[in-house]
C-alpha cells in the first residue's frame, strides 16, 4: 500500500525553526562557556603565574639594587681612605725617587771622571763633572747618552768644556762640539753602583782637570705628590701656600650655635 503524505511541507517549518533556535542558542552558550573556560583555566593561571614571577623578580631586583647601593656606599666610603693611603704611599715613593735616580745615574757614569756635584729639580739633572782628557769626557758622555731609560732623547747638554785659546763650548744632544775619539763606545764600560763613589773619591791633584757641567732632562720627571681630597678637588689647598680653601663656617657666630657637649666627667 502506498503511503501518501498529504500534509504541506510548511507544517514542519515551525519544528525546524525551533530546532534551529535551540541549536543556535546552544552554540551561543557553548561559545560563552568556552570563553569562560579559556579565561578561567588558561588565562587566569597564566596571569597568576606571571604576576607571581614578576613580583618575585621585582623583589629580587629591589634586593639587588639595595645591595648594589650598599656596595656603592661602601666603595664611596673607600675613596677618602684610599686618597689618604695613596698620598702616603706617593710620599714614601717620592722619598726614594731621588736616591734611585742618583744611584741609577751612578751606574751610567764613567769611572775615570769625577762627579763633584749633582742636583735635580725633578725635571732636570745637573752634574758638575771633571775629567782628565777629552777621551774621558767622551766616554762619560757616551755612557750618559746610552741611559735612554733615564733621560729624554736629545736632552743632554754639556757646557764648560774649554776651547782653544780660552774659548768655551756648549752643546746639547748627541755629538756637540766635543770631538769624540773613534772607538770610544767600544772602550766605554758601565761603571756600576760603585762608580760614583770611586769617581768622586778620585780627587784632582793637578790643575789639568777639565771641569764641565752636564745637564740632562729626565725622561720621567719626579713630581712631588699633592693630596687631593675626593670630591673637593680645587677646594682644598687652592689658596696660596696651601691655605685652607674655605669650607669652614663662620669664625665667630653671633648667635648661639650648635653646642659642643660637655666634657665627660
Amino acid at each position: 500500500m502506498l503511503k501518501i503524505n498529504l500534509l504541506p511541507k510548511s507544517i514542519y517549518d515551525k519544528l525546524k525553526m525551533r530546532n534551529a533556535a535551540i541549536l543556535f542558542g546552544c552554540l551561543a552558550l557553548l561559545i560563552l562557556l568556552a570563553g569562560l573556560a579559556y579565561s578561567h583555566y588558561v588565562l587566569a593561571p597564566s596571569i597568576r603565574d606571571m604576576t607571581a614571577k614578576a613580583d618575585e623578580a621585582e623583589r629580587i631586583q629591589q634586593q639587588v639594587q639595595l645591595v648594589r647601593a650598599q656596595a656603592k656606599g661602601v666603595r664611596d666610603s673607600i675613596a677618602p681612605i684610599q686618597a689618604k693611603l695613596d698620598f702616603i704611599n706617593a710620599v714614601l715613593k717620592y722619598n726614594v725617587e731621588y736616591p734611585k735616580l742618583y744611584e741609577e745615574v751612578a751606574r751610567w757614569t764613567y769611572d775615570r771622571v769625577v762627579v763633584n756635584a749633582m742636583d735635580c729639580d725633578g725635571t732636570t739633572l745637573t752634574m758638575g763633572v771633571r775629567a782628565r782628557s777629552l777621551n774621558d769626557i767622551g766616554r762619560y758622555l757616551l755612557n750618559i747618552y746610552r741611559a735612554t731609560h733615564l733621560f729624554a732623547p736629545n736632552s743632554i747638554g754639556i757646557s764648560g768644556v774649554p776651547g782653544y785659546g780660552g774659548g768655551t763650548a756648549s752643546g746639547t744632544g748627541t755629538g756637540g762640539p766635543i770631538g769624540l775619539q773613534a772607538g770610544g763606545a767600544a772602550g766605554t764600560a758601565l761603571a756600576g753602583i760603585e762608580a760614583i763613589g770611586q769617581s768622586l773619591e778620585r780627587r784632582p791633584a793637578e790643575a789639568s782637570w777639565i771641569d764641565f757641567t752636564v745637564t740632562c732632562k729626565l725622561k720621567n720627571p719626579i713630581v712631588a705628590p699633592q693630596f687631593v681630597a675626593p670630591g673637593a678637588a680645587g677646594a682644598e689647598g687652592a689658596g696660596p701656600g696651601g691655605m685652607p680653601g674655605g669650607a669652614a663656617g663662620p669664625e665667630t657666630p653671633a648667635a648661639p650655635g650648635p653646642q659642643v657637649p660637655g666634657p665627660p666627667e
Binding site: M17, A54, I60, N95, N116, P244
Partner: protein, 265 residues
C-alpha cells in the same frame, strides 16, 4: 507568534549574529582584558628579570662582600699607616683637638724630627726645625682640613759617602711622621759628599672639625709670630668653654666667665 512570522533563514541569521555577538562579547569583555593583563605582567617580568634573578643577586652580594673586604683592607692599611706615621689627633671636638694640635706642633713634632734627623751613619749638621705656631681658635679653618701640611720645616745637611747619604734619605720613610724629602743636592767628592735637602711634614687628623664652638666676637688671640716651634697666642685668648677640663690651667677659670659649652657640674 513572532516565531510564526519568521522563517528559518531569519533564525539562522539571528542565531549567527547572536553567536558572533556572544563570541565577540566574551573576547572583548573577558579574554582581551586578561590578555592585556598577562602582557603587562609579562612585560613587568621581562623588565625585572634582567636584574631579578638569584644569580644576579648572588653576584651583587658577592660584590658587596668584595667592597667590604676592599674597605676593610683600605681601613687596615690606613690604620697601620696612621699608627706608624700620624699622631692620634682628632678634631671632632675642636677644643680638645686644638690642644692636641698644640701639643703636636709645640712639643712633639719639632723635637721628633730633629731627633730623627740625627743619623749615626752620617754626619748631620745641627738642624733647627721651623714649625709654625698652631692656631689659637678652635674654630680655625685648619681644623676642617683633611691634611695638615708643614712645608719645608727644615733644611738637612749631611756629610758622608754616597751610599750612606742615599740611605740617610731613604731612612726618612721610617720616621714616626709622614715626611717628604725634597730634592737632594749633592756636592763634594765621596766620601766627603755633602747632601742638602729640605723636609716637609704631613699629618692626617683622625677626624676633621666637629661643630663650631660659640665664642665671643674678638676673643681670639693672634698667634705668636712664628719662631721655631713658636707658642701660639696662649690660652689668654681662648674662648669661653673652649678649654677642656684636662687642659685648664691651675688657678681656675679663664677670664670671661663660665664655660658656655657645658662644663662638668
Amino acid at each position: 507568534m513572532i516565531l510564526s512570522k519568521l522563517k528559518l533563514l531569519h533564525i539562522v541569521i539571528i542565531g549567527s549574529v547572536v553567536c558572533i555577538g556572544v563570541g565577540v562579547g566574551v573576547y572583548m569583555m573577558l579574554i582581551k582584558p586578561q590578555k592585556e593583563l598577562l602582557a603587562k605582567e609579562t612585560a613587568r617580568y621581562n623588565a625585572a628579570i634582567g636584574e631579578g634573578t638569584m644569580q644576579v643577586l648572588q653576584a651583587a652580594q658577592d660584590d658587596y662582600v668584595k667592597a667590604q673586604n676592599e674597605r676593610s683592607r683600605a681601613v687596615a692599611a690606613l690604620d697601620d699607616q696612621m699608627r706608624r706615621r700620624m699622631p692620634d689627633m682628632s678634631f671632632e671636638r675642636r677644643d680638645i683637638g686644638m690642644m692636641e694640635l698644640w701639643r703636636e706642633q709645640i712639643n712633639t713634632l719639632g723635637p721628633l724630627l730633629e731627633g730623627f734627623a740625627r743619623d749615626t751613619n752620617v754626619d748631620v749638621l745641627p738642624t733647627s726645625m721651623q714649625i709654625p705656631a698652631p692656631p689659637a681658635s678652635p674654630n680655625d679653618a685648619i681644623f676642617d682640613k683633611t691634611l695638615l701640611e708643614f712645608p719645608s720645616v727644615g733644611q738637612i745637611v749631611v756629610h758622608g759617602d754616597f751610599k750612606s747619604l742615599m740611605a740617610n734619605v731613604r731612612r726618612w720613610n721610617n720616621c714616626r711622621r709622614l715626611v717628604m724629602v725634597g730634592p737632594i743636592r749633592l756636592a763634594g767628592t765621596s766620601p766627603d759628599l755633602e747632601a742638602t735637602y729640605s723636609i716637609s711634614c704631613y699629618i692626617f687628623p683622625v677626624a676633621v672639625g666637629g661643630p663650631m664652638i660659640p665664642m665671643a666676637v674678638g676673643g681670639v688671640a693672634e698667634p705668636a709670630a712664628g719662631g721655631p716651634m713658636g707658642m701660639p697666642g696662649g690660652p689668654m685668648g681662648m674662648p669661653p668653654g673652649a678649654m677642656p677640663p684636662g687642659a685648664m690651667p691651675p688657678g681656675g677659670m679663664p677670664p670671661g666667665g663660665p664655660p658656655a659649652g657645658g662644663a662638668p657640674q
